[in-house]
């Protein structure tokens, strides 16, 4: 896979002391990292709907590309490139996909070369909320924060 991908356990815990507001100072302070979800079926759409309900705000600026289960061959790299281009506000883009190694993820990886795009797999609701809240961070840093948020939300309960 591309070097732009971030291992799930990279830098876990690094951002524990980050301000929850996601506010940063310096060259990125006034910019936002674009977000694009690339998922099987309507997973991404559903997560966006739920996130909008929870946060009570529109996430319409988050791009979404669906891989249709019955016609995956029709969803291609070009659609992903266009979604990334639309989402890019100048600071770069972070793409979130569901299962690593599956078609959505692989198709994104194929268009990463040379682009200001980072990719994180294992999308869940916690990851999306965290990525949205910290989107003032540059893509690589945001990737780490999103990964950390997703992992932190996976816990075992043994009552």
């Amino acid at each position: 896979m591309s070097s732009g991908m971030h291992e799930a356990n990279s830098s876990a815990g690094e951002a524990a002391t980050d301000p929850a507001s996601g506010q940063v100072t310096g060259q990125f302070a006034d910019q936002l990292t674009g977000l694009v979800l690339v998922t099987h079926g309507q997973i991404g759409r559903s997560l966006l709907d739920v996130a909008e309900f929870i946060l009570d705000q529109s996430l319409s600026e988050v791009g979404f590309v669906s891989f249709r289960q019955s016609a995956m061959e029709h969803t291609g790299a070009e659609e992903i490139r266009q979604a990334i281009a639309r989402a890019d506000q100048g600071q770069g883009v972070l793409v979130l996909t569901d299962v690593g190694g599956a078609s959505p993820c692989n198709q994104v990886a194929s268009v990463l070369q040379g682009a200001r795009v980072d990719l994180v797999t294992g999308l869940n609701l916690a990851m999306l909320l965290r990525a949205w809240n910290y989107r003032r961070q540059p893509p690589a840093k945001l990737a780490t924060l999103a990964t950390e948020g997703a992992i932190r939300d996976i816990r075992e309960y043994h009552p």
Partner: protein
């Protein structure tokens, strides 16, 4: 620093949307704000942190704030929780 205790009284407890309202409320203040259940204390401006408290109806939580507007922050959060997060029940 100011600290206080508050009990979750709304029917659904501190669920995701309520947690979002709590975080929005806390984020409106410059003070640092923490909320705790037992020995577990989290940043009250982090929705995922707040959700880890898994606080259902009847759960007593600790509130702690430190900063210029700490009293107002604790007061506003206490009001929000006491007002059932605006959910009516």
């Amino acid at each position: 620093m100011i600290s206080s205790r508050v009990t979750i009284i709304n029917k659904l407890g501190l669920h995701a949307r309520a947690a979002s309202k709590l975080v929005n409320c806390a984020s409106g203040f410059s003070s640092e704000v923490w909320i705790s259940r037992g020995s577990r204390e989290v940043n009250c401006k982090s929705i995922m942190g707040v959700l880890t408290l898994a606080a259902g109806r009847g759960t007593e939580l600790g509130l702690r704030a430190e900063g210029n507007d700490e009293a107002a922050a604790v007061s506003a959060i206490t009001d929000l929780i006491g007002n059932y997060f605006g959910e009516g029940e």
